[in-house]
């Protein structure tokens, strides 16, 4: 009976999957995660990506570099595409570059990075340095990190996009900061992506930003879906409600991810992890059934009571 209450998202996503997405999934993928189109382009992106904040900042430690590349291998094997990083994340870019080289630069990769400098003149050289760290010919997406010097950097990114040096451009925030300014940018600037914090407890984006993103055809990347792991840690002492089992959620991590990616404006959530089993668990959240509005409310209410 409950299945009938939450088929809308699944149906629309499955329909889109049947077309363009199938051809764009990596050849080595053993599963095909649910995906959504990027704005008006029709390009499909799996609903779960891979963040790199903290987890891939491992320096020159060979053991940890190899462990990170194992995580990336499992991510691509599970049908993942988007990996997100930033020059702010220590050695994460170089770790990604190491993993991509080791994996033979998977075709499925959707590379997302950021420009993070208060100096307008340093934006271009920083993006080029980041590209070199990744070892990719160009980024699929470059975002202005945390709105830092965003006017100058957006101008640069628009020029790069026009010249064919980047496919998509965007802007990011996190922790719910500067939402009013972000809203103004989304309403006035020609951006393809916005990245923001959204999870079962941090839901301010539902009020204005997510509806505006849908209205403007802006793809949405969600960071901190687990509040950097604290949500999973806190909830782990409570029982997972049995009424989410039919969605396929078998853990709190999958419960939390399904809540995030079931919002129709969300294009991709980017949990970070340093463990292979966790990346597989995260990717599995982008399968099965996505909660509908009623179930999403029940999920939020349940967590709110804990």
């Amino acid at each position: 009976m409950l299945i009938n209450r939450r088929t809308v998202l699944k149906g629309s996503i499955a329909a889109t999957l049947a077309g363009a997405a199938a051809a764009q999934m990596p050849a080595q993928a053993t599963t095909t995660p649910l995906a959504r189109p990027l704005g008006q382009t029709g390009e499909m992106l799996p609903l779960v990506g891979l963040g790199s904040w903290i987890t891939f900042n491992v320096g020159n430690n060979q053991k940890l570099l190899d462990a990170s590349s194992d995580v990336m291998a499992a991510f691509f094997e599970s049908g993942g595409r988007m990996i997100d990083s930033s020059p702010m994340y220590g050695s994460s870019q170089a770790t990604i570059g190491y993993g991509l080289k080791k994996l033979g630069m998977p075709d499925a990769l959707f590379s997302a990075d950021k420009v993070w400098t208060s100096s307008a003149g340093n934006g271009g050289p920083q993006i080029e340095a980041s590209r070199g760290n990744w070892g990719v010919p160009q980024f699929d997406l470059v975002q202005v990190h945390n709105l830092v010097a965003w006017r100058a950097h957006l101008e640069l990114l628009q020029a790069m996009k026009a010249a064919g040096n980047v496919r998509y451009i965007g802007i990011t925030t996190s922790h719910g900061r500067r939402h009013a300014e972000l809203e103004d940018i989304m309403a006035s600037q020609p951006i393809d992506f916005v990245q923001l914090t959204y999870n079962v407890e941090d839901r301010e984006a539902e009020q204005r930003l997510l509806p505006l993103a849908r209205e403007r055809g802006i793809a949405v990347i969600v960071n901190r879906p687990f509040q950097r792991g604290y949500l999973v840690e806190r909830l782990s002492s409570s029982p997972l409600p049995n009424w989410v089992a039919e969605t396929g959620a078998a853990s709190w991590a999958q419960f939390l991810l399904k809540f995030v990616i079931s919002h129709p404006a969300v294009t991709c959530a980017i949990p970070a992890t340093s463990q292979v089993e966790h990346v597989r668990e995260n990717m599995a959240a982008a399968s099965g059934i996505l909660p509908d509005t009623a179930l999403r409310k029940r999920m939020a209410d349940y967590v709110g009571q804990l």
Binding site: N57, L64, M88, Y89, R177, R178
Partner: protein, 228 residues
Amino acid sequence: MAEWSSYSLHDLLLFSLQAYIGLFELLNTTLWPAHLVTLALGLAAATLVLKGHRARHRLVWTLLSILWLWTGWHFFHVQYAAINWAAEYVAVVFWLQGLLFGLFAMVPKCPQISYVGTVTDRMAAAVYLFALIGYPIASLALGRSSESVEFLGISADSGVVATLAILVLSRARFIWLAWVVPLAWCALTGLTLWLLGSPEFFIAPLAAVLAVAAAASYITGPDSLPDK
């Protein structure tokens, strides 16, 4: 300013405890057997001071200068900066501290370093011995693997604690300037380990508190000596 207040201390951490511990594994692997050299130099400095060797003042300040310059370059600039871009700034601070100790070694009125066996001196000696040998043992006892424990001259913490012990023995009142960076580092490394969830977070701050307590008796008590 309002935006900075929305960050928690945890948000300022760029790396995991696993990556931080991995840093010391890498250091120990790549620098071995330099540990034996730094241990020998540390023991030599202690012997010079205990024996009251005439050249001890300039030699010990010189060794401390080298220790801080080396730590700033290799630990912070070469290794730690790979996971923490802020380490580049700390490297500069360590270099400045190293230059200050170099200045101490060169000036005509070289700050004196003396061990005369008072209770305060013994406290300083205990802190120094802890920096030399006790630090890795304490880390092991608190769960660190043998491959990742920290040694004097290889990473920063034990060298900073050893420096504090020497500063206690230096007694000169104007030398307070040289305390600022070591004490700040002990606080910072303790905070870092605490945020990372490491049980070792209290070691360096506790050693710093002991050193300050020992120094306070020199400054305020009958052991106080004039600057030379």
